[in-house]
Symmetry: C2
DNA sequence: TCTTAATGGTTCATATAATGAACCGGTGGA
DNA sequence: TCCACCGGTTCATTATATGAACCATTAAGA
């Protein structure tokens, strides 16, 4: 393990639970010699990756990180930021994975990845701008947005399939509540016959839903078991996806997506 | 120079102008041996601080940066994030520096720093919620916000001093335009007699003004020369301040604040 | 009050890990 | 075909990271 890797590994020890760590804490967590850890800390601090509280002498993550992260989000297109995590998800799921961003109430395509494991799989055509209420993505977005958004969506004719009446308000509210409870939205044959999907929202830096990620699979492939399996995969990657876009999943939803013991392990 | 510092210095070579750099580019920029640079790059990539484009083999800033930066903004209070840069600014200016955040049209105090160089200096009392139109900060915010914001501000009685009529619309528009042109707002004796100030906006991650930073000084101390001197100091630190809060200054304003040659040097 | 055990930080002989000249294989002009 | 440049690798040499022992300070505990 290179010296660089050892030093950078120190940064990963900082967490929401423990944002401030002292020299001894880090020495214990790493098992390395105190002098070694200290020199690493000094190097990281001089580069601005850590900063030291003058009073407590504890270390915390430094300003260089926000500077460089800002540079990244400005210079790297969002497609590139998503690619590795979405590709991995597609490989694990063996199905088509789909990321859309919300522009008004339009779901505009951002990125997709497909895996060729299954002989029969959902083909992706840019069937642009599907109505919000006809997709798992749309419902995932609405279920994790503030209340007023639903009212606006119900009023807008673009959110439903052409030549249909607005969705029943009480039914939709009940469904969105169920989605918010279990953490993901699902759909069976709603938009295209034979195509089912599961979806979760993607959150921005202010923890507001602004995009969605979905997995589409042939309805014929499986029943409830398939759905829950794919939803689990999706939710496990939920935090990675939001983080890749520079956002943050609200704590209670993160807890819903990845149960306590898994979070502790990571 | 430690190995860690050398590796981390590589990250600073990535910029908006050159977000993708190849091995040879980095080797030239650092003057170090190619093998050395390559091993550093691999270490950084494995830690997620860089990622390599599979096609071009060029490197770009990696996802670990956004992850850690998000952690920082969530765990470190904004006061702490500002402290070092504001303290430095106060020391350089020798005057009271002041950061306020906008909540609706209220300027709420976030952080301040005072330097004791001058025997006579502006004393800070928490004269809470000064009206927008009576402060340099307020005008700096309005001058760098979308047009509609001014309309709302003019309509709100809280934005002006009690028992005064609303500001003349044309006059204000002309002043805000002048502020936007030169990059900073100024005030002489408007809110408190004997107190002048200069101010600039602070931008969030979406490059929207959401807070302000101002320097206050006794009006008696100097005339136009003092004002431009302090404004220059303020604008030079403008990018650092926004970046410290996790935000980004819009390019054209960054250019206005720090002329081309200085930017090239950094 | 004197002890003890934490804390953060430093020193310097030692050993390990970083270094760089030379090398490889591939690609894209001239 | 040649040549230059690219990203990447190898291995003897050397410089650098390492860690046991040390110091100074603080805060309980007896």
């Amino acid at each position: 393990m290179s010296t660089i890797a050892k030093a950078l590994a120190l940064l990963d020890l900082f967490s929401e639970a423990q944002p401030r760590l002292g020299l001894s804490d880090l020495q214990r967590l790493t098992g390395r010699d105190k002098a070694t850890v200290h020199r690493h800390l000094v190097a990281l601090e001089q580069a601005g990756f850590l900063e030291q509280d003058a009073a407590t002498r504890a270390y915390r993550l430094g300003p260089a990180l926000t500077r460089l992260a800002g540079m990244r989000t400005r210079t790297v297109p969002e497609v590139e930021m998503l690619r590795s995590v979405i590709d991995n998800l597609s490989r694990d799921a063996g199905e088509l994975v789909h990321v859309s961003r919300l522009q008004g109430f339009d779901l505009v395509h951002v990125h997709h990845a497909e895996e060729h494991d299954h002989p029969v799989r959902v083909s992706f055509d840019a069937y642009g701008l599907p109505p919000l209420f006809a997709t798992a993505s749309g419902k995932a977005y609405l279920a994790f947005s503030p209340g007023g958004v639903l009212d606006l969506a119900l009023a807008d004719p673009r959110t439903r399939l052409p030549d249909t009446s607005p969705p029943n308000r009480l039914e939709i509210e009940a469904e969105l509540k169920r989605i918010a409870m279990r953490g993901y939205a699902s759909n069976r044959d709603a938009l295209r016959l034979g195509v089912s999907s599961v979806a979760i929202p993607i959150f921005d830096a202010a923890s507001r839903a602004f995009a969605t990620c979905s997995i589409a699979y042939p309805t014929g492939r499986g029943g409830k078991a398939t759905e829950t399996h794919l939803a689990r995969l999706l939710m496990q990657r939920g935090e990675d996806i939001s983080q890749a876009m520079g956002g943050a999943v609200p704590p209670q939803i993160a807890e819903l997506w990845t149960p306590r013991q898994e979070r502790a392990a990571s």
